[in-house]
Structures are given as C-alpha cells and as structure tokens.
C-alpha cells in the first residue's frame, strides 16, 4: 500500500511541476523546439532545474544500499547507443515537435486538454501497444543489414 501511496505522490508532484512549468502548453514546447525560428529558451531552465536536484538524489542513492521502502535502487545504466535508441528517439522527437506533447504532460493535461488531448493519448497508447512488434521488426532489419 505504501508503495502505491509513494507512486501517487511522485506522479502528483510530477504533474504539478509539468503544469506550473508550462510543459503542458503545446505552443510553448514548440517554441522551445523552434531553434531556427522564434526560439523560446525558457524550457531549458525547466529541464535544467529538474536535472540538478535529481543529480543530487542519484549521488545520495549511490551511497545507499536500498530505497526508503526497502527495495533495491536502480542498477547502472546501459551504455549501448543502438539503432533502437537513435531511431526511437528521432520518432518520439518528431511526434513531440509536431503536436507539442510528450507522455507525462499528455496524461497531466488530460482533464483540460479536450478532444484533441484525448485523441493524442489514445494514439500514444496504441503506439505503445504496437511498439514491441515494431521493435522486433527493426531488430530483424538491423540484423539483416549486418
């Protein structure tokens, strides 16, 4: 139960941060991605402001054996930058730029995003559903090329 309460609190804090920082405003996000147009750099401070405390948390985590609830802390991250990471991120970025929503803000803004927000979320969930098959196809192509 405590695990679920912690999950709710983390999700709630995250959602509140996304709302306040402007990450749920698609125009602002597109303005940030519009590097060669009318660039709005403010979201870089949002990202930086999120990275800084999290870096401190990772540092604390590195000196601990377990999390507060007793389960293990995440292991070392992988180092392989493969075709899945590159192509997947390019696809994600293209979708993010096209409409201005990424997964967190899409859920956080669902109560006021209207029909467009709902359609986006269902399309995103459909994409997540077919992603494992897409990934398998991609791996098969990559193996064939090698």
């Amino acid at each position: 139960m405590l695990r679920n309460i912690f999950g709710f609190i983390a999700g709630g804090l995250f959602g509140a941060g996304l709302l306040v920082s402007g990450m749920t405003n698609t125009r602002k996000v597109q303005g940030w991605l519009d590097i060669f147009g009318d660039w709005d750099p403010t979201l870089a401070f949002v990202l930086g402001g999120a990275i800084l405390p999290t870096a401190i948390a990772w540092n604390i985590a590195s000196r601990r054996a377990k999390a507060m609830l007793g389960n293990p802390l995440p292991g070392k991250p992988g180092t392989e930058v493969d075709h899945n990471l590159m192509l997947g991120s390019l696809m994600f970025g293209a979708g993010w730029g096209l409409v201005g929503l990424c997964p967190g803000p899409a859920v956080a803004s669902i109560s006021w995003g209207g029909i467009g927000g709902l359609v986006f979320m269902f399309a995103m969930l459909a994409g997540m559903l077919v992603a494992p098959a897409f990934r398998a196809r991609l791996n098969a192509v990559a193996t064939a090329i090698r």
Binding site: L18, A57, M68
Partner: protein
C-alpha cells in the same frame, strides 16, 4: 517540482521516474507485476494537476492543434518512439542526464533533433502547425 518528484521516487521507491516506461509497461504488460504502483503514479499525474488547475491563477491551456491527422500521427510516433528507445523526456532527459547516462544523453540529442526538424518542416515549410 519535477526534480523533487524524480528524487522522491528514486530515493523513496527505488524507481526511475520515466513516464513512458511507467505507462508503456502497463500497455504491453511487460511491467504487469507492478501494475498497482504504476496505476497509482498515473492517477497522481492526472488527478493532482486537475485539482490544482482551478487554484492556479494563470489560464492553463494546452493550445493543441485541431488538425486531427497531425494529432494521431504524433501520438503514434510518441508511443512507438518512446517504447522503442526505452524512454522519453522524463526517463532519458531528466533521470538519464542527471546520472550522466550515455544512453540518456544520446536519446535527448536525438529527440531534440527530431523535434527541431518537425517544427522546421511542419511550421516553417508547410505551415500546418
């Protein structure tokens, strides 16, 4: 607040706060063993901003396009892309960069390139967004 959420989830629950992973693990059932915790996170993510919105004094709008074709295409790209790459802005961007993960930093470079290109092509070239 985003950093506080990521730090709390890491040190409290021992989890990497990645939105696409938490949601996607439910959709493709790869994270089914922790479904309740995932659902609780998603509930907090949807409910707390909904409650906060009326007291937040600046008008909050998503300004989402009314081009349904663009919305569906973008949703599919975001859904497939984040799951194939194993992370989005929160998982790779915030949690990855903050631990100096090569994968997190590389993913961020690639999704910023993808996003920058999409805005150039669809806003400045075709002027549809």
């Amino acid at each position: 607040m985003i950093g506080a959420a990521a730090s709390f989830y890491l040190l409290g629950s021992g989890r990497v706060m990645g939105a696409s992973g938490i949601i996607g693990g439910l959709v493709d059932r790869s994270g089914w063993s922790t479904w309740a915790e995932r659902l609780a996170f998603i509930a907090g993510l949807a409910v707390v901003p909904a409650l906060l919105k009326p007291v937040y004094n600046v008008p909050v709008v998503t300004n989402i396009t009314d081009n349904l074709f663009a919305i569906v295409a973008a949703g599919l790209l975001v859904g497939i892309g984040t799951r194939v790459a194993n992370g989005c802005t929160s998982g790779h961007g915030v949690c990855g960069i903050s631990r100096f993960s090569i994968r997190g930093m590389a993913a961020t470079v690639f999704y910023l390139i993808g996003g920058g290109l999409a805005v150039i092509v669809f806003r400045h070239l075709f002027e549809v967004i």
